[in-house]
Symmetry: C2
């Protein structure tokens, strides 16, 4: 906190700190939104998280899912049981390795989820409408990089390379 800025860019440190603060807030708010959506779908918070992961990261094995989140395999079995009972995912045996299981997302009930997220969806549209096309590209790039950084940081805590 010197009176003179060190490299003639006075706002950098403050802006970086502001970004971190905003990211903390954003995470909490999005988790809260997630909780509300899950409540409307009779779905657990964690279950909805994993449904999202399965929907976007393609078919995955239970073990891979558990490792990715740092959960015990038995816990994953329970989560998948609930998701399967609700018709959200299907378990199939891997033909090439029949001891393995592949979890596939069913898209039947996707409309329900989209409807619940529609409020946030259009809110983001409104926010984005106030930025130029170039700014939007910068924003998307930043978010992707930050998400990648989150993956690495979580993996490190999960036990190094592992």
């Amino acid at each position: 906190m010197l009176p003179l800025s060190p490299d003639a860019t006075p706002g950098r440190r403050q802006s970086t700190a502001a970004i971190k603060e905003a990211l903390r807030d954003l995470r909490i708010q999005l988790s809260l939104l997630n909780h509300q959506v899950g409540t409307h779908l009779d779905l657990n918070d964690v279950d909805l998280d994993f449904l999202d992961v399965i929907n976007r990261s393609g078919p995955l094995s239970p073990g891979a899912l558990a490792r990715r989140a740092g959960f015990h395999p038995a816990t994953m079995t329970g989560i998948l049981d609930r998701l399967e009972r609700g018709g959200w995912v299907a378990r199939e045996r891997d033909p090439s390795d029949r001891r393995a299981v592949v979890v596939r997302a069913l898209r039947n009930r996707n409309a329900e989820v989209m409807r619940l997220y529609s409020g946030m969806n259009s809110a983001i549209d409104n926010v984005c409408a106030e930025y130029t096309s170039a700014e939007l590209k910068v924003l998307a790039d930043f978010l992707r990089r930050t998400a990648k950084a989150g993956i690495r940081a979580a993996d490190e805590l999960a036990g190094g390379a592992r």
Copy 2:
């Protein structure tokens, strides 16, 4: 979906969609990171969330915390019990209204938390280092607006104006 872009800004729709995708990923990754941090601190996911809220939003009453997150007051009691047992927070009686309780965050163990988040912290620093000061301001502003949008969207699902 006309072949001609409507307002001479061809990338807008794609960039907005990319931002939504990245936000979904970011939320999941930050939640998983949160889970890993909580595991290392012998702390529940929800408990860590509320510790964060208490740390940043100053001393608060248990009821206010419960309303803010849509939890039942009794659940909040359990969360605060665990946080207090671990030496994270302290319950004090409000001098001005002695039936009320204020929860204050103790900073003793803050270093442990910071150490666990240090990987993500420096990763964000590295990402931010690649942007200009003006871009950083745009980013911080966008994140704040998006967080606000998340609050409104969650409130709507919680039961309209309420």
